[in-house]
Symmetry: C2
Subunit: 281 residues, 2 copies
């Protein structure tokens, strides 16, 4: 008998989120997770659950969302990648499939995530970019935005940047560490890039909303630092520093994991021979 255990597979998923109701499965609605699960279940011939590094909202895009799933089917990974992409709509692509540690969890094991937010500045937004950028052609004072972006670096209580309707996180810590936060000027657009150890629901879009308020002269450095203090929202008259920027400008760029999970040491000899044809990808 040659019964081999199911494989845990990690993949990078890119998607144009425009026509999807976000990552998470919702009955009767097209979602990224639901579409991936339907395609993988068809290949497996049994229900397959897909776990992502986190949810993305309706309309948000991903250059490389990390997903993992467990498969009993022994199809070589090159063939699995092709079969999966054949079944998926062209707005979702799966790449970089590798066999990973069986306990790998894309959310719990994530060390850092990087997001980008694009703001189109020219009066006329390119028809070819309109799905992938927030068109804001109105005057903005960039030095104030650049300074505020830098102030967000460090470990702060981001309660004032959490979704106002976020019930999932009630009682949980809203302290997060931002490693990098910068606003870059590019031709026709601004690019806000942020890398942190975790992000609350709507946090990046609320940060961009605050940066836009700073650009309009409605939010200064002291007000931002106030909003980052623990208990800020409990103060009478406390206001959120910015309103949520539109989803279409937001991209999940990458998710980082401990090297030991990405490049695990060789298996002990008693675990059987490595399946080179299946792990080479």
């Amino acid at each position: 008998m040659n019964i081999r255990p199911p494989r845990r597979i990690r993949a990078n998923i890119s998607y144009d989120g425009t026509d999807f109701h976000g990552w998470q499965v919702q009955p009767g609605l097209a979602t990224i997770q639901g579409t991936l699960e339907a395609a993988l279940s068809a290949i497996e011939g049994a229900p397959v659950q897909v776990t992502g590094s986190g949810r993305t909202d309706s309309g948000v895009h991903a250059l490389a969302q990390t997903a993992a799933f467990t498969l009993a089917n022994r199809i070589p990974l090159d063939n699995l990648r092709r079969a999966l992409n054949n079944l998926l709509p062209h707005a979702i692509r799966a790449a970089d499939l590798v066999e990973t540690e069986f306990h790998f969890h894309p959310r719990y094991h994530a060390l850092a995530k990087t997001y980008e937010y694009r703001i189109w500045r020219a009066e006329i937004c390119s028809p070819f970019e309109r799905r992938y950028t927030h068109h804001h052609p109105y005057p903005l004072f960039l030095p104030a935005m650049i300074r505020l972006a830098a102030l967000l670096r460090g470990t702060h209580d981001f309660s004032a940047f959490a979704a106002s309707d976020d019930k999932d996180e009630l009682g949980l810590s809203k302290v997060r560490t931002i490693f990098d936060s910068e606003l870059l000027e590019q031709p026709h657009q601004l690019l806000y890039r942020v890398r942190g150890n975790g992000f609350l629901k709507h946090m990046v879009r609320n940060i961009v909303g605050a940066l836009l308020e700073a650009g309009k002269g409605n939010l200064d450095e002291r007000a931002l630092l106030d909003a980052l203090r623990p208990g800020y929202l409990d103060k009478p008259g406390a206001r959120r520093p910015g309103s949520r920027a539109p989803a279409c400008g937001l991209f999940l760029v990458s998710v980082e994991y401990p090297d030991i999970l990405l490049n695990p040491p060789p298996r002990p000899a008693h675990a059987g021979p490595p399946h080179l044809d299946e792990t080479a990808d």
Copy 2:
């Protein structure tokens, strides 16, 4: 009394053609020309006819299609551009509006047009490019394609590259002059760029089809030169050198006009003062 004549206005129109049934008005279908005419008619308060430099097919894009229309409404051109873009869907944008000679005709006066065709080569097509490129990840012998692209330069009878169903051009000359024709390798994709004094219906897509046949080893230089000879299609057993490549990879890049039409000499004094506010754009 101050009755001023209607203005002839020229504009550059860019569009994502994915969700449109081509340029030309068709009853009951969303077309670029029809959408522009509806928006301009709403501004004018009367029917406005829009003329383009040529039709683009269903699904074909434009970076700068040249269009012209005649307007009695004296709205300044800056305001007209904003009003028009407010009324248009985001997939169509109007730019560079200028008042032009009253007899200006975007098709009859065009000296040259440039098209680009994009072929995505990587196994996985980016979800953000899929609407704007033809995904062809299969083996292609590029040197043969590059040589054939260059052979198309010059004045030839392009009957074998015309649409097989093109009744509009029956009896009309199918001789055209190609000024530039080159295939460029870019990261992840091939870019075919062609500039000529005119193009038959489906001609660029049929040329790209022929280049793909050459890349697959199915069409050599002699067969291409044969297909460019007058009367080629009348020979028994004559086959078209390539089948039409998909619309989504094709972009109309620019249309060129005589400088005298773009920068006409100053009007004679008796024509009245120039309306600087309306022509500065």
